[in-house]
């Protein structure tokens, strides 16, 4: 579904040039849950932004469902790829339902249908109890679930999340990781970054990023395990 091949990215840091990603390759299939951990400034957010088509690499190719993202062949963000932000943008006093329905309304969906889809997405994200809350009233875990629902409204095939459990409480961490696994079992490909290596637990494939290199097992090595898990074994 998503293929990054020999992707490199450099940033200018004053007089120095910093290599963030150096010839990185990564494949993610439908229904796979992949987590990446690296220390601060390791480039994990850059990797996610490139995977989501938000940022272009300096070199290498990024293909989503066979289309080239890096070359701008297709605008996939919001059309197949969902990038979940930790914070909800917009009016803090807005109702959660309005927040979640907003991307659908922006795409011309009728108000009634948008609200129906938003309710479904909130339920799928385990945030149905937040339906009538205001954005300013949400806790960190609830904010993430609502942000996730907002993205799920658009039925993405690939979900990209930047440190989804970084600010949530310990008890809720497991629930959110379980939610991501459920989404993966439903066939959504999920890529997320971890602020701590312990947050890698529960992913089907755990990777580390450091000094521009992505390390860990390749998709093929874990293919039988992924297949068994999808069958609930």
């Amino acid at each position: 579904m998503l293929e990054l091949e020999n992707v490199s990215k450099r940033y200018r840091d004053g007089q120095r040039e910093r290599i963030v990603l150096n010839d990185v390759s990564l494949e993610i299939g439908a229904g796979e849950l992949v987590a990446v951990w690296g220390t601060r400034r390791s480039g994990r957010t850059t990797l996610l932004r490139i995977a989501a088509g938000i940022e272009a690499p300096d070199s290498g190719s990024v293909r989503f469902q066979g289309h080239d993202l890096a070359g701008g062949e297709q605008r996939s963000l919001g059309e197949g790829i969902g990038f979940v932000r930790k914070r909800l943008r917009g009016n803090e006093e807005q109702d959660v339902l309005e927040q979640v329905a907003a991307p659908l309304l922006a795409r011309g969906v009728s108000v009634e249908r948008a609200r129906e889809l938003a309710r479904e997405a909130l339920s799928r994200a385990g945030a149905q109890e937040c339906l009538t809350s205001r954005v300013s009233e949400l806790g960190s875990g609830e904010t993430l679930r609502v942000a996730l629902a907002r993205t799920l409204c658009l039925s993405p095939a690939l979900l990209v999340l930047d440190e989804p459990v970084a600010t949530v409480e310990l008890g809720e961490r497991d629930e959110i990781l379980a939610l991501l696994r459920t989404l993966a079992r439903d066939g959504v490909a999920v890529l997320f970054s971890a602020g701590e290596p312990s947050e890698l637990a529960g992913a089907q494939r755990a990777l580390t990023l450091g000094e521009g290199e992505l390390r860990g097992p390749r998709a093929q090595e874990l293919a039988p395990v992924v297949a068994l898990r999808r069958r609930g074994v």
Binding site: W37, G38, T39, R40, R41, R173, D174, E175, L177, A178, R181, E196, P197, S198, E199, L200, A201, G202, A203, Q204, R205, A206, L207, T208, G210, E211, R215, G216, P217, L222, V225
Partner: protein, 200 residues
Amino acid sequence: MGAGSGRAQALPAMHSPVNWALLGLVIERPSYAYELAHRFERTYEGALSLSSVSHVYTALATLRERELVEEVPGTQGALRSRRRYQATTEGLLEHEQWLVGQVSEERRRQRLLVTQLGALARTPERAIEVLDAYERACLAELASAPAAGEATPGTTGLVARLSAEETRLSVAAKIAWAQYARVQLRSLADGKSAAPAADG
């Protein structure tokens, strides 16, 4: 160690993890040998294995000789398969000491790994290769471990939840250490002095 008889105290230390694991099951609840074999398979699947049911009888004989288990009153002298075993006070104490001793055993194994890696410091590129393989093994371990959030609720899933959390924390620490060690080895390979710590 303990207050067992002189004969039991004179025996050399018991190293078999199967024997200690079996003692743990007997402590949990008195059982017949056949039942113990089944419980052993269910509890330690993937971590320890028995060669056959007769392995349980051999282990129970060792535990009895050391006065760590005894036959439940009323089943003594019955056919071997009809005897039930329970832990002695000595068994409870020694099992607790063995469990606590695993902390230093784990540390000893980790120190051994670090020392072995340090022995490759003359060829840092080779040491980095070993480190990469070590990190991959840790990442695979994390991915294959059950998630704490999905373990069965209640006391039945307690072991699964504790195991998942222990794996998560201990393997995560190893992954963080591997990143740190790689930075140090890379600096050595490049002829630079290593940074005091990896950038958090």
